[in-house]
């Protein structure tokens, strides 16, 4: 059973030589990927393409331990993945920052988002071995056919490498007399020798399968623009009033008691007093911010508020009040009068009142009844903001809902009175334009304020806008 003679020829010889060259090269690569472990180095299979073109999927990176203090940008590092515990990442060091190392995949448009701590560095890549990691990649991706194909290809290469056979009359040197042993098979070699070579080769391949894969990961980041989140200067209607310099500011958020707290600059001495009856506290108010959405409802017959600290003859002032009503009997929203403790005043002006048709009027007395009245009616059950300002220089101005609805410079002086600020009720008398049926206001009030200055149209508009 000698081998056929064609296997002893030049053609078979050449094929075998070439196959052995390829197998030998593969064996060397395998050895190079595995043997460094003997001196404490590490090998890792590149599992993805983010280090293209430097490393491709299936390359084996041989990693040398390194003193992280000596690292310079440009080195390719094998590190513990900062984003996925238990995984390895193979990327290039681009910058050593104070709080970590910044890495980037050569194929990634941007650096990795997470910094790597020096302690997580396994080492610097010293050598890249192409191809040998491919089986590991296929195994990780559960791709059976390439694995099978590779196995068949290796088997074929092995077969081809053993194709050439010396003639039986030319026994290998050093092994005389073994040329024609009974173990010969059709392939013309001792079966044990072929099996031995096959086992060595396949175990080397299996070793590479066991190499840890380094995810040289692909990544992309999409960011929002720089989002600026400004915090409002004003959180409540009271803040708007404070910024305008309110001396008296009654938020009217009380739920019980007879004291309407003054949060304006005049302090608690200017606290107002609720009438003992006719006031329902804690009803729904305008949208004046956190903890400022309540109001008080006055019944139109007894409910009112007043201050108890005398004020001497204010000649420059502004008053402002949020109101909500459906009354057709009018009534005083706010005014200045000389009677204490909520009584009916004999001297009274600087007042804002509703007419029976729901129009807003602002009156100042100066040896005559000077008033401006809005063209529109506001007794529609919605929240409205009435603002009146007065000074010698600017005369009378009346705003509703932030907009000027009436003005007059016919008088530059208000009545010389010492008195109190009155809210919801005081004398109106028979002589004012559009005099209402009721001096008591029936409806809800909130966020009432008094200023020692003339509010600008901008400040008035801001007060209205805040609650919209």
């Amino acid at each position: 059973m000698t081998a056929p003679t064609w296997r002893q020829g030049w053609a078979a010889f050449t094929v075998s030589m070439l196959s052995r060259t390829v197998l030998g090269a593969l064996a060397l690569l395998l050895a190079a990927s595995v043997l460094p472990a003997l001196i404490g180095w590490q090998s890792s299979v590149v599992m993805s393409g983010s280090m293209e073109p430097t490393f491709s999927t299936g390359d084996v990176a041989v990693v040398r331990p390194v003193d992280t203090a000596t690292l310079r940008p440009g080195a390719v590092l094998l590190v513990d993945d900062p984003d996925v515990p238990g995984q390895l990442r193979l990327h290039r060091l681009v910058e050593v920052q104070g709080d970590g190392l910044q890495l980037r995949g050569d194929a990634n448009p941007a650096a990795d988002s997470s910094l790597v701590q020096p302690a997580a560095v396994h080492g610097v890549v010293t050598m890249g071995l192409p191809l040998v990691g491919d089986p590991a990649v296929w195994a990780a991706e559960r791709r059976v056919w390439p694995l099978v194909g590779t196995a068949l290809g290796l088997a074929a290469l092995l077969g081809l490498a053993l194709l050439h056979h010396r003639p039986a009359d030319e026994p290998p040197a050093g092994r005389p007399g073994t040329a024609a042993t009974p173990t010969r098979r059709w392939w013309g070699r001792s079966a044990s020798s072929a099996v031995r070579q096959g086992v060595v080769l396949s175990s080397a391949v299996l070793v590479t399968l066991a190499l840890p894969g380094a995810a040289a990961l692909f990544t992309d980041v999409s960011s929002t623009p720089s989002l600026v989140l400004p915090v409002a200067q004003w959180w409540t209607c009271g803040d708007v009033g404070a910024s305008a310099g309110a001396a008296n500011y009654y938020r009217l958020q009380e739920t019980s008691g007879t004291v309407a707290a003054n949060t304006g600059s005049a302090g608690t001495g200017m606290n107002a007093t609720y009438s003992s009856s006719g006031v329902t506290k804690g009803v729904t108010g305008p949208n004046c911010g956190l903890n400022n959405t309540a109001a008080v409802r006055l019944d139109g017959s007894a409910g009112a508020l007043w201050t108890t600290l005398q004020v001497v003859n204010p000649q420059t002032f502004s008053v402002q009040v949020w109101f909500n009503t459906t009354t057709t009997r009018g009534g005083k929203l706010i005014g200045f009068g000389n009677a204490a403790d909520g009584g009916a005043s004999s001297q009274y002006d600087r007042h804002v009142y509703l007419t029976d048709t729901g129009k807003v009027a602002f009156g100042v007395y100066n040896a005559g009844y000077y008033a401006v009245t809005s063209a529109s009616s506001y007794n529609n059950g919605a929240w409205h903001l009435a603002t009146a300002t007065f000074s010698a220089g600017t005369g009378m101005r009346l705003y509703v809902d932030g907009t000027l609805v009436g003005s007059s410079t016919a008088t530059t002086v208000a009545e010389n009175t010492t008195g109190y600020w009155r809210i919801g009720y005081d004398s109106i008398g028979p002589n004012w334009p559009g005099v209402p049926s009721s001096e008591h206001f029936a409806g809800s009030l909130a966020q009432v304020s008094v200023y020692g200055t003339v509010l600008t149209s901008t400040q008035v508009a801001q007060a209205w806008q805040f609650a919209q």
Binding site: S16, G24, P85, P225
Partner: protein, 201 residues
């Protein structure tokens, strides 16, 4: 037999051939290794590569590139809601997570008093409008100060399949200033950049 009719290499030639294949194997192996080593250890970072031979990971959102956007003023008790569409166009399967890329504030304690709630879902989102948005039921909430800043701890993981068809997700964000925020933050401002990062999975 035709034994003599086939030209056969001499024993000497066989020996030389064996040597030749050993040397050849060494040369081929060395060439492969050295070539890769050369590519890997040039001490420069290659220029940005837009196209990746073996696949892409790409994520975008409809508001990126707008420069700086100033949002409406915050005050306690008021919250705002907007929607943003994020699109993945990568060819490879990826996981997308949301985190804060950068944050600053002009007042101490502000970032711990601004809260964000993010909900993932579908629909809506054009021009930040949430009309038509349908939540997928997952919402995460955090103050700005404790919002994750890395992919690893990022929020609302979204596994994309990759491929030729772009995949989109709508993110609804609601943000507010705490009702217990100190008055010292009045008039201050915070600046934040959110990022959706896609990592190959």
């Amino acid at each position: 037999m035709t034994k003599l009719s086939v030209r056969r290499p001499s024993r000497r030639a066989t020996r030389r051939g064996a040597l030749l294949s050993a040397v050849g194997a060494l040369v081929v192996a060395a060439a492969l290794v050295w070539q890769s080593a050369y590519a890997g250890f040039a001490d420069t970072t290659p220029a940005l590569t837009a196209s990746i031979g073996t696949g892409t990971i790409a994520v975008s959102n409809e508001v990126e590139g707008l420069g700086t956007v100033t949002l409406p003023e915050l005050r306690p008790g008021v919250s705002y809601t907007e929607c943003i569409i994020v699109t993945s166009t990568g060819s490879k399967p990826a996981q997308v997570k949301l985190y804060v890329k950068s944050r600053t504030a002009t007042a101490t304690g502000l970032t711990s008093n601004i809260s964000f709630s993010w909900t993932a879902g579908t629909g809506g989102g054009a021009n930040a409008d949430c009309a038509g948005f349908v939540s997928n039921g997952v919402t995460v909430s955090s103050t700005l100060s404790s919002f994750p800043t890395t992919f690893g701890s990022g929020y609302l993981p979204w596994n994309t399949a990759g491929g030729a068809t772009p995949e989109s997700r709508t993110y609804q964000v609601t943000y507010s200033l705490s009702t217990s925020a100190p008055t010292s933050v009045k008039g201050a401002s915070a600046t934040v950049v959110f990022a959706w990062e896609a990592q190959q999975r």
